[in-house]
Subunit: 332 residues, 2 copies
């Protein structure tokens, strides 16, 4: 029986572990925090991040990265800001097999380097096949077998199809794509736009404004994403438009919720100290803005979210600027 | 001072009348029903369709179509199934000036002929300039001066710019476009997809499914819309993706609400007899299906909505078919 490692025991890591275990694989679920690992091992439920879902017996919980390397596939589900450090530790503590697939289910772009998550994995594990997973996927719904579609990106078709077999089930349908860049960039950028959409909610701007803002977010995602090397059709698909729509409208979205609270008058630090989970749009907007400047791409929404989060701009004034921005055409 | 006629005193017709009157125009607002016109004239509030909004004095309410023809522009805001009859009556009772602009703010496709609303107007008023208005525009938000973007489609740029001046204000931003077909088709089709999205809500399928369904709706809208002669970028803009997103997610959307009630087990006739307003997706799905068959375009969502509304298919089974449809790629 094949073994799959999952690096990261948040909601999404735990949900993926459960789905893969139910498909008949032996799963090693790595948690960084000893307390979390102990609770998970003892109670077999991730009360903090995925309440109510019982871990199948075939999931072994560990805090030792050295146990995670010998696997058919290693699935990274860490915060984006922790991926480089954790993958370096994994590479240092164990030898990862030459055909082990490294998959990123992390949505972000590294600040400073502008690296995509799969680029970090490729650099850390040279010669190994690398892939990504992204799509409109609330962990709580996936773990409750609610119908879900997701996308696996891999340069080699056989790698994508192999991963597809590992996670697909009646409720979770995985599509494959070769546009690794487009899938990753869509997943990273949508969190920034969800913060903006949440701000519109928090400011009480109404459904008309929010629909217009999400429409322009879709255009901005494609504009920056194309410049970064993604394909146009990917941004119109599940991992682009689909994930953007989900994150901008779901009550369960952390990034939308951060924006909503900022729109309602709270400060970012206040919000972050009260949240258990990471809102990836907060670090990613820094990287996205750097990329946009470097590539000379116009990104008004990313710029306004950045100015609100990091330059103390007023959400009301910034959103007003976005909405009243003088446009030559819809596409600007 | 220019005079503008608004044909139809539902929520959207009344909201447009108010916005145009506030811009300094003399407005004639035509209501078909004598009781509604009498109440509107006496109380200056459309309690039934746009509660709480006071009509400015420059709006004259009438039931006489003959008074509506002599105008700078005539704005049609009727149900799609009534447009041909009402525009024929207008043409029969009065002579419409040669430079009077006829604008459709109606979202539908005529059943039987497959005509777009502006095609009906062009045939009824030969030689006159014809235009359309569409976008993510909840009437109640527009009338309450909440920030809103809309699109005016006209073949001649000066016609579009003229209408833009008539309705634009600080809260209502109107963009112009020459893609009349794309704007109309997007506005018509989105109501069908909103019924499907509402069914997903009513069946409790979850946010992941709904996001995937709306993503595929966007692709299906563009596929059929391109075959009908619209432009790809229009379907990605405010009157395509924007209006689709609004209608699929807003609590105020009638079409989404019809789908939700069907998903929850009610029958269409039951729902229709309890609703004051028209859900345009119900007649439009018939026309859209005919168009798709005629043009040999694959439209699984339209087909399933049709089978549920007109062939007694089970919403649960039909949605399951949609979700589990075997796809070769996301774009199918």
């Amino acid at each position: 029986m094949d073994t799959i490692s999952i690096i990261g025991a948040g909601g999404w890591g735990t949900a993926l572990a459960v789905m893969i275990a139910k498909n008949g694989y032996q799963v090693r679920l790595w948690a960084r925090r000893k307390e979390l690992a102990a609770t998970l091992g003892r109670e077999r439920v991730n009360h903090q991040y995925l309440p109510g879902i019982v871990l199948p017996n075939s999931i072994v919980v560990t805090t030792h990265l050295s146990e995670a390397g010998q696997a058919d596939a290693v699935w990274f589900v860490t915060p984006s800001t922790a991926l480089r450090e954790i993958s370096n530790s994994l590479a240092a503590t164990t030898s990862v097999g030459p055909s082990t697939i490294l998959i990123s289910a992390v949505k972000g772009i590294e600040h400073g380097t502008g690296s995509r998550m799969s680029e970090i994995l490729a650099a850390t594990f040279p010669g190994r096949p690398v892939a990504v997973l992204s799509g409109p996927n609330l962990a709580v719904e996936v773990a409750n077998f609610m119908p879900t579609a997701t996308v696996i990106g891999a340069l080699k078709e056989e790698v994508g199809m192999h991963l597809q077999r590992i996670i697909s089930s009646k409720s979770l349908r995985a599509y494959t794509s070769s546009d690794v860049v487009g899938i990753e960039v869509g997943g990273a950028l949508k969190n920034i736009f969800a913060i903006a959409a949440g701000m519109a909610d928090g400011l009480g701007l109404g459904d008309n404004s929010k629909a217009a803002l999400v429409t322009r977010s879709l255009a901005e995602m494609a504009r920056l994403g194309l410049a970064l090397g993604g394909k146009r059709e990917t941004f119109q698909g599940l991992s682009g438009a689909g994930d953007l729509i989900l994150t901008c409208f779901s009550r369960h979205s952390r990034n939308r919720r951060v924006g909503e609270r900022i729109g309602a008058g709270e400060h970012l630090k206040q919000i972050q100290s009260s949240m258990q989970m990471v809102a990836e749009g907060v670090p990613t907007v820094q990287s996205a803005r750097d990329c946009a400047i470097g590539l000379a791409v116009t990104t008004p929404i990313i710029n306004e979210v950045y100015s609100i989060l990091y330059e103390n701009a007023s959400p009301a004034v910034a959103m007003e600027r976005l909405i009243s921005r003088d446009l030559r055409s819809e596409e600007d």
